[in-house]
């Protein structure tokens, strides 16, 4: 029974696997170097004297360079990638980019004065996890893991892991809940994402 389910599941997942862009493992040293460089860029932007709007613009550009946003977006959409139409998929990725940017902007003030230390890197499954310790004034130190994959020939961040919890799995469950609460309609997720974007815009 379990074997039958596994085979059926694997067959169902094949189109999704084919849709994912080719990615390969990154060597631990290369992943560490990439996170060190990316982290230094991020810290430089967050701790600069630029205005919040300027910092947000710089961070959006940096995120597009160092994070595999489309790959993460497809992972987050999960099983509904097969249910969504091509137009819905395109709209989802556009909104996902926007929300990611706004969520990062939301944290700029909270991360003022941030410093970070790269501790080590290990290969776990398809990803290379780079462990870092992030220090913020007036806050407890946080151990954060960065999952790095080679996508399109360059290393990119595909996940952030804090205290054993994965950001992409959490977001996938968050989005899946919106879809299931609305009778399995991907359009409901797109509306919820748009509402969230509008709400954040109006609060800025």
């Amino acid at each position: 029974m379990h074997l039958r389910r596994t085979i059926l599941g694997a067959t169902a997942a094949l189109p999704m696997l084919a849709a994912l862009p080719a990615h390969a493992q990154v060597a631990p040293d290369a992943a560490k170097a990439f996170i060190t460089q990316s982290g230094q860029q991020l810290v430089a932007v967050v701790n600069s004297n630029a205005s919040t709007a300027q910092k947000a613009d710089q961070l959006r550009q940096l995120v597009d360079q160092i994070v595999a946003v489309d790959t993460v977006g497809d992972y987050v959409l999960g099983r509904y990638l097969n249910v969504a139409t091509a137009d819905q998929h395109t709209q989802f990725l556009t909104e996902f980019h926007q929300l990611l940017s706004y969520n990062i902007t939301y944290q700029i003030k909270a991360y003022q004065g941030i410093t970070f230390t790269v501790n080590g890197a290990t290969v776990q499954g398809n990803d290379t996890i780079v462990d870092t310790t992030i220090t913020r004034p007036g806050q407890a130190d946080a151990d954060v893991g960065w999952a790095v994959d080679e996508i399109g020939g360059a290393p990119k961040i595909v996940d952030v892991i804090v205290a054993g919890t994965s950001l992409r799995i959490t977001t996938r469950n968050d989005y899946a809940s919106v879809i299931t609460s609305n009778g399995g309609q991907v359009s409901a997720l797109l509306s919820a994402m748009q509402n969230q974007i509008d709400r954040i815009k109006s609060n800025q």
């Binding site: 099983r79 799995i169 469950n173 968050d174 899946a176 809940s177 969230q196």
Partner: protein, 274 residues
């Protein structure tokens, strides 16, 4: 037995009974408001429903909304006030003290879970931090190579092979599960105060420790919870996912740290030459 003692013993027995019965009553109450599963023909939706394993979702969401209000109007303002009058250093020491206070319970949980190395680490931590660490205010044990490994009775049951079961969101206590809910009565009894003689002093100390634990923990999570509530499309589902992942991660860490290892000073015996 004097009448006063008998009344006190009856009261203690009632409290113990309530602590044991509470999970069962909660389970029955929560499962009475169940979610309707989607049809199995709708593969993607049905898979999502099964993965969520939250059949009491409608009731859980009601409790989530109530807890959210309590948090918004009581816990969070208190935690913010606490942050205003304390430094991160003080909050770290309070955290160390609370952690140390729960260490004897962990020793028992690890032993029952068949994790002797983790139990040994918890014992060393309790002895070192309670003495050198001045009652647990400091945590020299971590620097000595004995880091904290958190556990509770729910994780002991997991070590026995009992599955997590459906997700539950409890009034006041928050995220839990059909297995983890049994941590509540265990935590009630497994504190160093339980064997201590009953007195006004121990009672005041017990209430103060619980209050400090709650406020200090809530203070630690002000920013992450604010962020989830501001950025998640469905904060209830986000907290559910985080809870499940964190429990799996805790279990993994317990198993990882219980792996037998050979100390550097140990010389393995050489095989006798024939």
């Amino acid at each position: 037995m004097s009448k006063r003692n008998r009344v006190r013993k009856n009261r203690v027995n009632s409290t113990r009974l309530a602590a044991f019965a509470a999970p069962g009553i909660l389970l029955a109450g929560l499962l009475s408001g169940c979610a309707t599963p989607p049809p199995q023909s709708d593969t993607a939706d049905y898979q999502a429903y099964e993965q969520q394993d939250d059949p009491a979702e409608p009731t859980n969401r009601v409790f989530y909304a109530i807890n959210d209000k309590i948090d918004h109007y009581a816990f969070k303002p208190i935690a913010e006030g606490y942050v205003d009058i304390t430094t991160q250093g003080i909050r770290n020491h309070v955290g160390d003290f609370v952690t140390n206070f729960a260490e004897p319970g962990r020793i028992v949980y690890f032993m029952f879970g068949g994790k002797p190395r983790d139990a040994g680490t918890a014992l060393v931590r309790f002895l070192v931090d309670s003495t050198v660490g001045i009652g647990g205010i400091f945590d020299p044990a971590t620097s000595l190579g004995y880091p904290e490994t958190d556990t509770d009775f729910g994780l002991t049951l997991a070590e026995w092979g009992i599955p997590a079961g459906p997700y539950l969101y409890l009034p006041v206590f928050g995220p839990s599960g059909a297995r983890d809910v049994f941590s509540l009565p265990a935590e009630y009894f497994l504190t160093p105060l339980e064997p201590a003689p009953e007195s006004v002093g121990t009672r005041i100390f017990g209430y103060s420790e619980t209050a400090l634990h709650l406020v200090n923990t809530r203070a630690e999570f002000i920013q992450p919870i604010d962020q989830i509530e501001a950025t998640a499309l469905d904060p209830y589902a986000t907290f559910r996912s985080l809870y499940r992942q964190e429990r799996a991660s805790q279990l993994q860490l317990i198993d990882q740290r219980d792996t037998p290892s050979t100390p550097d000073w140990f010389q393995p015996p050489t095989a006798p030459q024939k």
